[in-house]
Symmetry: C2
């Protein structure tokens, strides 16, 4: 075990109860549903945050979900819909009456409505758009005109802007007299006469400064402007890299059209990670625990099918050496070890590569050095485990040449695994294909084919 295990012990224990729904609360809610007690149900749900209610709905089964919503449905909070996992959002929306749905949606900010609409079918989209008042409908339709996963979809249109020549006093008077300010805002965006953003001033700075100070003199040091068509993953990266709290969004002419705040960027970062981790394991990144059995099975079958082809390819390699195995059955006993160790080393390197590409630590700048490092690491661990396995084989089978063969084959396979594990994700990334999604099958093919070929081929040459 590594040093990390020790660190794990030292960490404060995760207090799971701190934010989890209490089991007791869930049981009481389900009991209220069972006996059909709407008043009791409402009383129990009342103190829960929308995000927790959404979690509750995700965790109970379809039958309970249907009954709960029927009993509670006349006062369904729009925020619950926003927080719901996409996999059951459609189901839940289908269970609400049009009147309840309209009420729920009307409370939401326009960016939340956009988020809600994106994943729905046409008829449900129309139902929700129809429930909105005219200005909101226009705002939502406008947002939907931006590409999927773009800053335009993520931003809120409400933003507090001020001319760059204003003083602190001007800003305070404006803010204190103006009615239509957004619910949450942290910065005033300074704009030039063409509505191009030129700086951000925090409310805290405005509060602390004398009335005659120019806003232009107290802007934040860090100021990043987000193009409206920028990919949301890049937006999240910028927030995380530069510790932004909010950033103005501009159209293709550089004019201010909205802003993005860090809480939305954090949600995107979380989704991107989820996508990477699931894709690396060959699970559809749309999958969730509330998927049905059939959906879940389909979400995994693609990768299993690709893996089946890879495995059959590797078996063809083995078949070519059937005579060798016939003569020395120890080869069949040992060959999975070579392939398995190669597969694991390949996955290690590939994961580091995919992660480094995602965090932009792996760039054209250091690519060659990183490839060289990975190959060297593969050679070191290949030599180490090749030696260990040669020792094990010598003791186990008592055939020194077989020991030499497996040791060499392992070294060779580990180096190939390292090379495949780093070069394949980099090549896919350059070809604009998500390396998290597509690297696995290629790397596995390399490690399996090289592993079996190296071991069985060497054995044929040396031993038979």
């Amino acid at each position: 075990m590594t040093d990390d295990d020790i660190q794990t012990e030292e960490r404060p224990e995760t207090d799971e109860s701190s934010y989890l729904l209490e089991k007791k609360t869930v049981a009481a809610i389900l009991y209220a549903v069972d006996i059909g007690d709407a008043a009791q149900l409402t009383a129990l749900m009342e103190p829960l945050h929308a995000a927790d209610i959404a979690d509750l709905l995700e965790q109970i089964n379809t039958y309970d979900r249907r009954r709960l919503i029927a009993l509670y449905g006349h006062e369904f909070d729009g925020d619950i819909l926003s927080e719901l996992d996409e996999s059951i959002r459609e189901e839940v929306i289908g269970l609400l009456t049009p009147a309840v749905l309209a009420d729920a949606v009307r409370e939401l900010d326009s960016d939340d409505v956009v988020d809600l609409l994106e994943d729905l079918d046409e008829p449900q989209q129309e139902a929700i758009l129809g429930a909105l008042e005219e200005p909101d409908r226009v705002a939502v339709a406008q947002a939907l005109s931006y590409p999927d996963y773009s800053a335009g979809r993520l931003m809120q249109r409400e933003v507090v802007a001020a001319p760059e020549h204003w003083t602190v006093g001007d800003a305070i008077d404006y803010l204190r007299s103006h009615d239509g300010l957004p619910d949450q805002f942290y910065h005033v965006v300074l704009v030039d006469p063409r509505m191009h953003p030129v700086g951000n001033v925090t409310l805290g700075k405005i509060m602390r400064s004398r009335r005659d100070v120019k806003l232009g003199d107290i802007t934040e040091e860090i100021f990043k402007v987000i193009p409206v068509d920028q990919y949301e993953g890049d937006v999240a990266y910028a927030f995380n890299q530069y510790h932004l709290i909010s950033a103005p969004v501009v159209d293709e002419n550089g004019r201010l059209v909205g802003q993005i705040t860090i809480d939305d960027a954090m949600a995107v970062l979380d989704e991107e990670h989820e996508e990477d981790i699931l894709r690396l394991a060959g699970v559809s990144d749309e999958s969730s625990l509330s998927d049905t059995i059939i959906e879940a099975a389909k979400g995994r079958a693609t990768w299993l099918f690709v893996n089946l082809l890879t495995a059959i390819l590797a078996s063809f390699v083995i078949e070519n050496f059937a005579d060798a195995i016939d003569q020395l059955v120890a080869l069949a006993v040992l060959m999975p070890i070579v392939a398995s160790m190669g597969g694991n080393a390949g996955t290690q390197t590939m994961t580091v590569a995919v992660r480094s590409l995602a965090t932009r630590d792996l760039t054209a700048q250091n690519a060659l050095r990183v490839v060289w490092r990975e190959v060297a690491v593969g050679a070191i661990n290949g030599a180490l485990f090749g030696l260990i396995m040669a020792g094990v084989t010598a003791v186990w089978f008592g055939v020194p040449m077989l020991a030499a063969v497996i040791g060499l084959a392992m070294l060779f396979t580990q180096v190939a695994a390292a090379l495949g594990g780093i070069v394949i994700p980099m090549a896919l990334d350059r070809a604009k294909i998500d390396p998290a999604l597509a690297s696995g099958p290629f790397v596995t093919t390399v490690t399996d084919v090289v592993g079996f070929f190296a071991f069985l081929g060497l054995a044929t040459v040396v031993l038979l």
Copy 2:
């Protein structure tokens, strides 16, 4: 390929250049280093953000790094140290002269100094503590007295608090007359006479409200108080779940001691993800691209060693069926397919389980249903791929009973993989062991052993 691929195509293209250091800039900087032109170097570095300079230092090699710092070192920004990856932070600190280091550290907020100190050796810690002025040194020492990875390490002590009975006018007068306000703050925390936080008021709300409005009447709906010893991962979860922007931190008596802001929570969320993704692949979660070859090799060897034991165990199973393989070499050709498909299905289920445990979607509430679902998914895909493989085998080897054996063995292995993939992470989690770190070896053992045993055992019984 799945629907996801199509979605990938539709996404706005990642504009890598938008936040990446321009290759030209890096080349110009390295040229300035080469010719020893300090003025030119300073001019080139001047417009760069500390996070970008840190990335630059991580991406160039040790030799260039040393020369760059020697040339630039007399004006080294403390923020660069904060942004540097831990793996080279120690090296860079070692390159700075004591005077430059002292200057750099003195500019930092106390929470950033704490973050810096955590990963340093004793002598470097002392050097930095010695450079601080007395009040800062006390603040940092206090923070270091909280457990590693706790809210206390993460928080900043600077927080703007107001008595709960104050009005908007009181708050504005206080904020506008008070000198020691933190650089960045977004909320005023309301406290009762015992300094227990009772609510958050955003600066925006204060700006918009009449002077006679009571602060207690315009608090945020969502208000979460963070215990000072809470695990930082739980803090990040709370920020993400409840869309918090900042939250007060309290000591064991419930008294306000500091606050955590969302940008720090976002950084923790990012680290937690990095940890999960690397641990799942069996890579030390301390690893980074700037590790030396030896460090990187060590960071992967633990897992490879565990995997070697697993693979040898699986080989013992094969050895028991050496006679069967001797009689029918097709068994050796086909057996890796059964094990490989089991391993992949196990990894899929395990990844979903680890991720669901991390996001708290998998709870005692829905555990039984999720286990059942995973087993059903395993049975469906096992039946599907068992049938496909039976067909392939029938055509390939022309032995119908061998086709039946591999089909059944695959069904059996896929179900076992699903069961292992879901139950093992849940059991580890209940035993307070990180499932991302420890599930892999157990799941691989299950799928390898069951895969070889089911296939070779069935073959022995049915065919020989």
